[in-house]
Every structure is written in C-alpha cells, then in structure tokens.
Amino acid sequence: MHIPDGFLSLQTAAAAAAVSAVTVGVCVRRLRRTLQPRQVPLLGLTATFVFVAQMLNFPVAGGTSGHLLGATLVAVLLGPAAAVLVITTVLVVQCLVFADGGLLALGANVLNMAVIGGLAGGGLHLLVRRFGSGLRGTVTAAAFASWCSVVLAATACAIQLALSGAAPARLVLPAMAGVHAVIGLGEAVITALVLVSIGTTRPELVGGVETPTSRRPALAPRGLLVVLALVALAVPFGSSLPDGLQWVVGQLGLEHRAVVTAGAPLADYLVPGLDSSLLATALAGLAGAGLMLGVSCLLGRLLVPGKRARAEG
C-alpha cells in the first residue's frame, strides 16, 4: 500500500502531510509526558521488530505469500500513540533507506498506515475488548481491529489517489477496499496468532507502555472518531471528483458562474457523486465489518481456550 511518488497531486500530498505532521506531533508530545525513559529503546526495537516481522512470509495458495503489516499489533502491545510513532519510523526508514514509498507521498503513507492504522486499530481494539475478558478478549478485539484498520487505510489510500486524479473513484475505491478486505483477513489471523504467542509466554508485554493515568483512554476513541470523520468527509469529495483534472478545468470554465449562482455547489455533487456503486461499497464494508466481528469472536475462542477447557485439559 506504499504510494510511490508521481501519483499524488501536490495539494493532496501537502494536505495529507499536514494532517500526519500534526497527529504525529500530538502523539510525540503525549508520549513525552507519559513514557518512562526506559521505554524509549523499546519503541526503537519495536519499530525494528515490525520491519523484520514484515520479512517473514506466510504462505498463501499458489506459491504467493503474505506478511504482517503490524500497525494494530503495535497498538495493542504498546498503545495507540506509540503505534503511530513506531509505524511512522518504519515508514521513514523504508522511504529514506530503501526508497520504498515516495518522498512526497511520505505524508500520505504515514496518514494511511501509521495514523489511520494505529489510531483506528488501537481505538477499535479498546472499544471491542470490553466484549471479552483476558487474553481472549484482547485477541478477539485485535483481530477485528486489524481487519478494520487495513480496510480503512486502503480506503484512505484510494481516496487520495482519486482526489489526485490518478484513478477514477468509482473504480479505485471498491477495488482497493475489496482487495484489502481479503488482505485484512490474513492480517487479522496473523495478528491474533502473534498475540497468542506473546500472551502465553510473556502476558505482561501485552497492554501498552503508557503509564495508566485518568486521561489515558481519551486519545484512542478520540483518534478513532477523527479517523472515521476524515474518511467519511473525504468519501463524497473523492467520489464527486470522478476525473480530477477535467473536473477542475470544467469548473474554471463555463460552468463556474452557473455553480456559484446556484448557491449550493456541494448539494449538486454529493447526490450524484454517491452513486449506487459507492453506496454498495459502503454497505458491503459495513456488512464485512459485521461478518468480521463474528469471525474474530470465533478466532478468539479457537485460539485462546477458556478457563473451563484449560482446567479439563
């Protein structure tokens, strides 16, 4: 999902970079307040861990293989703010050492994978964890949250491409969301398996590095809300620009006056923009999320035996 350079327009890249810079800044400030000094190396080593874990191959049918993405895993292990910082670091090193992912697109990549991946993953994990207790609850919530974070990140990526005029929204949005609904399934299973592995050997490592204060749970749900609002706001914009440049040209030309005198330009675009295919995608996304919640519960039950089963076994 690393966007290379050359696809994003300057405006889109700049806007994404601004949002990312502010969010990473907020997370750094928060960590500086709550993090103990001895946990700073842990952040560095976790970033390295994510990088190396992405090299481990999980075989998929037909000789292909997938790998861990890791934003939600880190959010569950260290907390959402730390996850944003850690994944940002991974992306910066991938860009500035391996030239993987564009330089101008770095802001957009950080927004999609670190900010949306970390905050949405961490926020949803905290919300869903209440449904279960102990490791099983954590694993269930993490599986669900990682699927959602992958799909949300892919949606954001598709919106940025559509806004830049690199691809038509009604094509790229369902394509990216659809493909990543499948990739997210793999990510959910891997995240759950890795968490079970860590939770059964070192249970104290699961649960976040931030010292528990009364203000602690505030960031994740707020971050989640911001992410959802961003995506929800951007969807109609992305879809109302079916072919970016041509649209701008059209607006600057003859249609300009007509739109302004109409007084409500947005009303004109929102309705035809949200055509049936996009609505269908949104509905499919909701249905997928519901289905995924069930799959996650099943996964949690399967991977973490309950107290009774453990006592019998």
């Binding site: 690393h2 290379p4 050359g6 890249a13 090193v93 592995s197």
Partner: protein, 204 residues
C-alpha cells in the same frame, strides 16, 4: 549479517557523495515536486529530469545495474496503480505520464538514499526540528535492524532443525509464533540496550 546490506552505496567516494546532505535533499525534493505538478504538455521537463538523473548516476559511481534493479523492484506496483487510470477519458496519456513521473521520482529518491549516509539524513532532520524522540527511535531502528534480522534467522534455524516442513495451515501458526518470540526477544534486548545507554550517559 553485515550492516552494509542496508545502504551499501552510500559510503562510496564521489563528488556527489561529498556534497552536503541538504543540497541533495533539496534537489531530490525539487525533482519530486516538479514531477508531481508536471502535466502531459510539460513532457520536456521529464526529459530534462531524466538526463539530469542519468548524469548524477554517472558522476556518483553507483552501478547503473543496481539502480535498474531497484527500479524494477517497485515498478510492478507503479504499473498496477497506473493501470486504473486507463478507465478515464484520455487514459493512455495519463497512464504513460503516471509511469514516467513515478519512475523518475523513484530514481531521484534511490539516488538520494544511496549517496547520503543515514547519519547525515538524521542530522538534516534534526535541523528541520523533527522531535528528538522520533530521531532517537529512527537511529535505534537503523542501528538494530541487522541485529534483529540475525535474531529472526536464529529462530528460523532452530525451528527448521527441530521439525519437518509443516503444512501451510500449521506453518502460519509457527511463523506467527516466531514473530511473537521475536518481539519477546526484542523487548528483552531493549532493556539491555537501555542499561547500556544509561551507562554511557544518555538522557532522554
């Protein structure tokens, strides 16, 4: 594993390598930004950029084969994403434009990465007022990547030497277990690194 696998060519000696990091960063940014704003009628800009990049490659003594291999590594992603543009009016021009712009930006970035040491990049970032916590984490990551790659290989060797090759379903479980244990070992190493950092007078 040798640390040099990360950015072998950034330690070469050449006139380009000797330039200050900020000038190379500015030049790279200039190429990337001009690629982002270039419209199809601006094709001479692309030609100029291509000639410029070829000249820099020649001057920097980076093997052209290496540059091409790195380009080919990312090119499939570029082509797949660009293919989506074919469904638009004037799609073919846009497709060619996207691929060309993306390839040239990528070449510029690869050249920057391989002519500048990461320590210089970090210094540049510090002067751009990037928060010190982020810089510390970046430096730690750059320093520790090859250590953890070795650790992962040790885990893999231990697993392979104790087992037959597993079925696909079971191998997921085992690779995930390997990843989990890698995190456990990373966190243990982080504690030792913290002790070592304190012993050398590190302050957050």
């Amino acid at each position: 594993m040798r640390h040099g696998f990360l950015d072998r060519h950034s330690r070469l000696q050449s006139p380009i390598h000797a330039l200050p990091a900020w000038s190379k960063a500015l030049a790279t940014l200039a190429v990337v930004v001009s690629m982002a704003v270039a419209s199809p009628s601006w094709w001479p800009v692309l030609v100029v950029a291509a000639v410029l990049l070829a000249a820099v490659t020649w001057q920097s003594r980076i093997p052209a084969g290496f540059l091409l291999r790195r380009l080919l590594l990312v090119e499939p992603v570029v082509v797949i994403v660009a293919t989506l543009a074919l469904w638009q009016p004037g799609g073919r021009t846009l497709f060619a434009m996207l691929v060309a712009r993306s390839t040239l930006s990528l070449a510029a970035l690869i050249l920057f990465v391989n002519t500048t040491r990461f320590s210089e990049v970090l210094d540049l970032l510090r002067r751009c007022r990037v928060p010190s916590l982020l810089l510390t984490v970046l430096a730690l990551m750059y320093r520790c990547v090859f250590v953890l790659v070795d650790e992962a290989e040790r885990l893999q060797r231990a697993r392979v030497s104790r087992s037959f090759s597993p079925s696909a379903a079971r191998s997921w479980r085992w690779v995930a277990f390997q990843a989990g244990q890698l995190f456990v070992r990373s966190s243990e190493r982080a504690e030792r690194i913290y002790a070592a950092m304190c012993a050398r007078g590190w302050r957050p």
